[in-house]
Symmetry: C2
Subunit: 365 residues, 2 copies
């Protein structure tokens, strides 16, 4: 496998996406360019909104006349707004005929359903992949990250889909974190192989077979708490289950954070205690700051697409740019492609799904 | 509906169950008796282990010669250990022929799979219920509780099962929290009715129909974060999804708690800050103390069975006793029965499942 890094990386950025648009994306792009002296950006959006970026070094502005709103139905993004910043940005990672793509990865904070549908339509899926998946990282007790997929692109996943997610997740972690043989856990409701639904049990069998032939480092079943324990590098699950787990964790974190604030602002004594504890609390807060984990990968497409949280601020959006840059520089697309070929060559051929009418994305985020 | 409280409540306690057995259950029972002057207990276990309880007021000791271990397979609990403390305790809530049951609810910290299987075998399910469910509460931002079910007894739930869970959950919250018409949310990956798998969409239709005929207060779809926001009183989900959500929350809470400890013990300055912040941190800790939420209800059986966490300490086990007492005193069993009759009378008859060979419980906890 070719593990040399790409010397020149260009990212295409949908500057209009997300809750805040250019007021967040432009400062993030500026900061990103400053911290990555070798990187190039293609900024996509309405010309007037991007006027501030004129003359920035290593930067090209590409005009797009439309914007996909956060609440636009997938059909509108796909069929009506053909000159949207989201779609034009995604198109930058599609290779020209017999040529190179303008960019090696695309980043958007736009509506997840629209981004997945447009990416799937414009870029198509890789051979051997039925359904692209959304992968993101969560912090763990080992002070590392656990990569979880799928987080909501697919419901009712079959065992073959889960195997494909495991292969793609392994390629992602190998590329971005430099781990040669990352471990994979299958999210279940008990460690024993007999637990879970039929499709989960079958997925366990496929994953064990892939591990036996040396293509995957399969740990076995894991449970919800293992995501935060860091038991495995990767946790594979159905998109419905992954989305519920992610949002449950977000909800709990938000509640605990509010409770801590309430406790420290209860009266004058607790406020004094807060002043004394502030440096410690800030250190804790930075450690679990969800903005640091921003940037989900849409895996299984013939091009790299990264999704920032819609509510991301400039710091969070810059993290998504960093993540896309690292993935592109480490040739994630080639790695996913190679791993799929290696692993799936020995597996039963999955049924092909039509690509011209991508289904609406299962989850909103 | 008869909402008068029961004047005399007796709980049957499996004193041998859990990681700690009588060293935890007996002190908890003693404290419970002191705080509930009208309550009676039937303590079940090995005679020598329960010798300390001889002569306690309002207390009967019933001997059982065997103990279901935490790692015993369900088959062992069901077919080999017929004189286990778990089974004898469950049998106390089964009415004698043409008579009363010895106890109105049973509490055990034993192995969840064994408890569900034995309860299902000894007590049978209520008419109209295909599968019993496990319901427990999680804290929410409104300083209340959200009741979630199923937490792992069933995987691959149909729409009808989810409707049954909604009915049983409503009866539980009405009985224990005194809310006449508690709201029900269907756990999904988006608020829109078109989201989710086929069975979830069908469940949405059944729940809307039940709401339209006045039998349920159905709010609509909710997402994982709504559990902790307290958007609805009850959240209904497949046991696989519920178990993953519960364990994910447990894992995140454990990680955050460890991180806070690490930050406050980093050096002499942070330790000083900890001393100052201690009262505030302790107040926070008490507020989110998971021991306060101990005691899951096994709903849908012809008798009330409550499951304590296996690792519960005496304080947590006492909370499970309190919960079982409140449910029994408020005639939870009658309420579940009445609500099922009311709601399901207008629904398509669910397919009956055989009761003599209860399937192994899906999840371990």
């Amino acid at each position: 496998m070719n593990t040399a890094v790409l010397e020149r990386v260009t990212l295409a950025v949908d500057c209009m996406g997300g809750d805040h648009g250019p007021s967040v994306t432009l400062p993030a792009c500026r900061a990103f360019l400053e911290s990555h002296p070798g990187a190039h950006l293609i900024l996509v959006g309405k010309s007037d909104a991007l006027a501030a970026a004129a003359g920035w070094p290593r930067c090209t502005v590409v005009a797009a006349s439309e914007v996909v709103e956060m609440d636009d139905p997938v059909e509108v993004a796909l069929r009506k707004k053909k000159d949207s910043s989201l779609r034009v940005a995604v198109a930058q990672v599609k290779p020209a005929e017999a040529g190179q793509a303008a960019a090696q990865a695309c980043v958007s904070a736009g509506n997840t359903g629209a981004l997945m549908a447009v990416s799937r339509y414009v870029l198509k899926t890789l051979d051997g992949i039925d359904r692209p998946a959304i992968a993101s990282v969560m912090p763990n007790e080992r002070d590392g990250y656990t990569t979880v997929l799928d987080l909501g692109a697919n419901v009712d996943c079959t065992a073959e889909h889960l195997l494909q997610f495991a292969v793609m997740g392994s390629a992602l972690v190998a590329a971005v974190e430099g781990k040669d043989n990352p471990s994979v856990g299958l999210l279940n409701i008990g460690e024993e192989a007999i637990k879970g639904s039929e499709s989960i049990k079958q997925a366990g069998e496929l994953l064990r077979a892939a591990a036996a032939s040396g293509h995957l480092n399969f740990h076995g079943n894991v449970e919800g708490n293992d995501i935060f324990k860091g038991t495995t590098d990767i946790v594979v699950c159905d998109g419905f289950v992954g989305n519920v787990a992610l949002k449950t964790a977000e909800g709990l974190a938000s509640m605990l954070s509010n409770f801590i604030k309430q406790e420290f602002t209860r009266n004058v004594f607790t406020k004094l205690a807060a002043v004394v504890a502030l440096p410690v609390l800030n250190h804790f807060k930075a450690r679990v700051d969800h903005r640091r984990y921003n940037g989900a990968a849409l895996l299984g497409l013939r091009g790299l697409v990264f999704k920032s949280h819609g509510s991301a601020d400039a710091f969070a959006f810059q993290m998504a740019l960093n993540r896309a840059y690292d993935a592109a520089r480490n040739r994630l697309l080639d790695r996913v492609h190679d791993r799929i070929l290696e692993t799936l060559a020995e597996m039963p051929a999955p049924s092909a799904e039509p690509q011209t009418e991508p289904p609406a994305l299962a989850a909103s985020r």
